[in-house]
């Protein structure tokens, strides 16, 4: 009798696990995909893609990216724990800057849950698919309690989620820098 019970319980558990796998692709509304790739990604930079000769190169082998930036920008890296890092490129005196937040990410898409964690304001407007660092990403308008209106560029690359943020007014500035981003051999 006990053996029969164990067999039934095991099969029941197996069915539950199978059901979980089966429904995994059908995310409930709270976890549905944030971005839907309904349009063909376009290049970030609208102007000439030539990188000015005097720009400096920033490379991060761990996250597998490299990009160029104006020489007046100061770069700082902040270890956020859990393999995450925030990299700031800024010149406050000139009113220029952007930050790049990178975190390990096992998903292949950005979920609403992840978005809610990183953007407490919940603002997501005018999303547009773009090509950045050799992969497809999304740029959109958002808002932050400190920065005010912001422009975001998010993409998933090499097992990491990248979130670039700047002031809405510096949208072109950010896109110009990110347009120079290329894949770099990961360490």
């Amino acid at each position: 009798m006990a053996l029969r019970t164990i067999i039934i319980a095991t099969l029941g558990a197996g069915i539950l696990v199978g059901a979980w796998f089966f429904t995994k692709g059908e995310l409930p509304p709270s976890e549905e995909l944030l971005f839907t790739a309904t349009t063909t990604p376009t290049s970030l930079a609208t102007s000439s893609s030539a990188i000015p000769a005097h720009w400096k190169k920033y490379q991060n082998a761990h996250y597998g990216i490299a990009l160029h930036h104006p020489p007046n920008l100061t770069i700082k890296e902040f270890n956020e724990g859990g393999g995450a890092m925030t990299i700031t490129f800024q010149d406050p005196a000139a009113g220029e800057g952007l930050q790049l937040f990178v975190t390990p990410y096992t998903e292949q898409v950005v979920t609403r849950e992840r978005f809610a964690r990183d953007v407490p304001s919940g603002v997501l407007q005018s999303p547009r698919n773009v090509l950045v660092c050799g992969v497809s990403g999304t740029t959109f308008e958002s808002a932050d309690a400190f920065l005010g209106e912001t422009q975001e560029v998010w993409f998933i690359h090499n097992g990491f989620l990248f979130e670039a943020t700047t002031l809405r007014l510096l949208k072109d500035f950010q896109e110009r820098i990110l347009s120079t981003c290329t894949e770099s051999p990961a360490s």
């Binding site: 053996l3 095991t10 558990a13 197996g14 406050p92 005196a93 000139a94 930050q99 990183d118 007014l169």
Partner: protein, 110 residues
């Protein structure tokens, strides 16, 4: 002869043993994945950290608080903004103009 209990039968059944082992491994894997995912850091805004920002009418003013003494700042109407402050006996000024087409020019000097 040692009596064989039902528990012994269960443990010695190859198929059931594999199923249980598989379920345990799956449970451990997804639990670990969930823990790793839930412990990943949330984003923190570091951009212009330590600075204060004023945005009016499309203009921007940034002045540093720590280590700097703000001299003055003001915002003109429309899309024009200007800021100035002192830092270690050095005068900084920033003026920025924004048009509707998002074109802007700016200058700063010591």
């Amino acid at each position: 002869m040692t009596p064989i209990t039902q528990n012994h039968i269960f443990l010695q059944h190859p198929l059931l043993r594999r199923i249980v082992l598989l379920l345990v491994m799956l449970g451990l894997f997804f639990s670990l994945a969930h823990v790793v995912e839930s412990q990943s850091a949330n984003r923190r805004i570091r951009l212009f950290e330590g600075f204060s920002i004023v945005i009016r009418g499309g203009g921007i003013i940034i002045h540093q608080i720590d280590g700097y003494t703000q001299s003055s700042y003001y915002v003109q109407s429309g899309y024009y903004a200007q800021a100035a402050y002192y830092s270690q006996s050095t005068y900084y000024s920033q003026s920025t103009y924004y048009s509707q087409s998002a074109y802007y020019s700016q200058s700063s000097y010591k």
